[in-house]
Amino acid sequence: MPAMPAPPGSDPQAKLEFINQWFASGVPHNRELGVHAIGVHATGITSELPYADRLVGNPETGFLHGGAITTVLDATCGVSVLIALRKPLRIATLDLRIDYLKPTTPRSNVLCKADCYKITRHVAFVRGIAHHGDEADPIASAAGTFMIFGSRLTGNKDKDAS
């Protein structure tokens, strides 16, 4: 993921617009799916994936495909690391684990909330959940680790491009 400058000021609406310029408009696949940030906190964001028929993975049940859930959780966890970093650094997903806790409700939007709860010199740790509006009743949970490149501490030596 390319570096994102720290969102300016303290006005939540301005912050959201800034994040969405990068997150919703600047990332082609997020733009294609209509994934956008609807909330921001100190260590992450809440995003929304609008329901679309083309995201269905099981036509007999109407459940969304796991790939769509993975995509929105990956994107939401990644941008949450960038928020928590507060510095324009490049990151790359090392791994992402998704637990599918229950099927999606047909024809419903998916909300994702992620929290980057630990940052070390080179690695950031994130957890996230996907739900339909009630965080206490999640569809899926995620745990991800992200590599941080080019922080001042690492001397900008990392050349891996991803």
Partner: protein
């Protein structure tokens, strides 16, 4: 065509196209499945909307995860004892290299297939199968007639 009939027809015809075409998400993503040498190969045909990092450019990590999970699911539909689309319990995707703006292939193998649960390992690659861009471990719940 009902899913159960489509699964039987795909196994009979050595061809997964009709089954894949029943899944809206794989259609939208440009994911297809080929049966070759008795194995299932997934393919994510490159399209501009699959990009996650426009600067490099590189594929969105979620699209690679989707290819890996789909390939595992179709391998199960192809070879495992399941009467419907298996339910993914969980999947861990390791991202090994950035996915270039080109077609991506994937294959899957069962590390264990039990009565109820299948453990599947899948890898995704572009130019060279020995240089995977991502690997996944996943658990699936098989759907059987005694459910």
């Amino acid at each position: 065509m009902r899913m159960l009939d489509a699964i039987a027809a795909a196994r009979e015809a050595d061809n997964l196209d009709a089954l894949v075409s029943l899944i809206p998400y794989t259609q939208f993503m440009g994911i297809s499945m080929q049966v070759r040498d008795g194995d299932v190969f997934g393919k994510l045909a490159f399209a501009d909307h699959l990009i996650g990092n426009a600067t490099l450019p590189a594929l969105h990590g979620g699209t690679i995860g989707a290819l890996l999970e789909s390939t595992a699911v179709f391998k199960l539909l192809w070879q495992a004892e399941t009467l419907a689309i298996p339910k993914t319990i969980n999947i861990t995707v390791e991202y090994l290299r950035s996915g270039k703006a080109q077609d991506t292939l994937a294959r899957a193998e069962f590390t264990r297939q039990g009565r109820r649960v299948a453990n599947v390992r899948a890898i995704a690659y572009q130019d060279d199968p020995d240089r995977p861009i991502a690997a996944a471990n996943a658990h699936f719940l098989l759907i059987r007639d005694d459910d």
